[in-house]
Symmetry: C2
Subunit: 334 residues, 2 copies
Amino acid sequence: MRKQMALGANMLCLWVFTITIQAYSSVVEASQTPLPSWADGRTKTVIIEFVQKVTDPNSPYFVPEDMRVATFDNDGTLWPEYPIYTQLLFAQDRVKAMAPKHPEWKTQQPFKALLEGDHQGVAASGMKGLMEIVMATHSGMTADAFAKEAGEWLRTTKHPKFQMPYSEAVYTPQLELLAYLRANGFRTFIVSGGGIAFMRPVSQESYGIPPYQVVGSSVVTKYEQRDGEYQLVRQPKVGFINDKEGKPVGIYEHIGLRPILAFGNSDSDMQMIQYTTDGDGLRLGLYLHHTDADREYAYDRKSHVGTLDKVLDIAEEHDWLIVDMKRDWLKVVE
Amino acid sequence: MRKQMALGANMLCLWVFTITIQAYSSVVEASQTPLPSWADGRTKTVIIEFVQKVTDPNSPYFVPEDMRVATFDNDGTLWPEYPIYTQLLFAQDRVKAMAPKHPEWKTQQPFKALLEGDHQGVAASGMKGLMEIVMATHSGMTADAFAKEAGEWLRTTKHPKFQMPYSEAVYTPQLELLAYLRANGFRTFIVSGGGIAFMRPVSQESYGIPPYQVVGSSVVTKYEQRDGEYQLVRQPKVGFINDKEGKPVGIYEHIGLRPILAFGNSDSDMQMIQYTTDGDGLRLGLYLHHTDADREYAYDRKSHVGTLDKVLDIAEEHDWLIVDMKRDWLKVVE
């Protein structure tokens, strides 16, 4: 009897509720469209139409919810990478702190350049030099200790231009896009050349992306005894480089599904976007073009960070969408 | 005005709705408890009390939703591993299909043993032999081709005892536990020594677990040109062995959070369970003990599959819960 009454009340309520929602929707639609920090125009239209087509059960392009995978590069796509990659500044601070125990670094490259803040010099040491820096500063400690250190650094160190902690100096329009995709049943992933263990401590608070949806480069880690108990200890050995051809591989290893939407900002993201848009059905590949020297930075074909060069020549024939920061974004970092 | 009316109707509705839900809950609670295929008793009580404590915001053991990670071994924990590991039977069928092109296998171990269905002989070839089999049968093709082949095999080949396709011959009580955990905001992951690419094609349909929540062993994969287009191609080289000490490492790489609940069935799961229960706060470590020769199989200390030996001696001092299949499960595979 009680159950029947409850059912009756519920049916009535569902009816009232449905009408309410319909009334609400038109109010909301009239006053607010999705992606408020994105300027009206082709870019925004393409994104919204894509999402509508893959989420509409009557569309030939419909994709079931658990399969709606969207992957985003991090440096230069979700947060700034200029004047230099955030993780390199973190490494620089660690090298400075460790320097008293390493007098040889005063004359030994790439540490000498890093101690002197000479980022061009560090860049000149190439991938080999960068790896030496990562091995010296990102290994030897437990996984928990590294996560604590990276998280604290990102929450307390400020970006020179935006004067906010790095963990907060992220692109407002991208936060809206991530939230919009999730509201439409997408799973949002970070797929970055940066260190997986460097991003994870703040991925939830910075982007609403949990650690298990972050893919990145890694060092080899072992489960071994330390201080009398078993711990995960980070080894001075490269594990996986999640960059260029590595990105589709990282996606296969960690996600196991081909994304239907991918967003990058440099030639290093080309393989990820290609892998995405080569798939069957409707796909969307996007690149952020840094065109706004006032509100952020302007750089592309010749840059010491995220070079966008080859992509600009072939984007049109591949139907990749170039998002022009100056034209397409009403806000940048707020 | 329209908005105000909508709000008013909504408030009223919310009130009716809340009462309805309260009435419903007591009906549901009276007629049905969680985990219907689990026998009443200590095991079921411990599991339910654990879930209540970590999900109650007023509990000192509360864990936020995104951090509620539960990891499950696969072979012998979610589906049977007796009389022999499912993946080895898949490899056997592939070896048979490939044998005409490999006459040398007639005399060469471990292929000779596998072709003759001599699983003890295969086991005698050790990890080295198993790896040779995996390299010969699980690499050389594209990621898409392998996924298709593994998925079709699992959906069409029947388990000898249960006479159902392997993809359906899974433990009913574990399906209930996975669903119960997810209904309580947990993220459920498979963490298996088996091949990550072998399980993923059916993980969603078999367990409701999407591919990106499956962790397992892997071969090295490369993104390279094949037949004129870029493809992910599986290489004849071991990537990662997600077993024993490898399990906490695999969890760190793929999930990035320490689980609060872990479920295994053999000594090979000990490191995963130890890593889980060593964490701060409330944790739950479980092992399935195969004690039911009638409804499934009975094996433990001396077995050619999932040996449960050391764990049985130290479970009590570690507060690990041994789930006794015969005593604790009302159903097994249905």
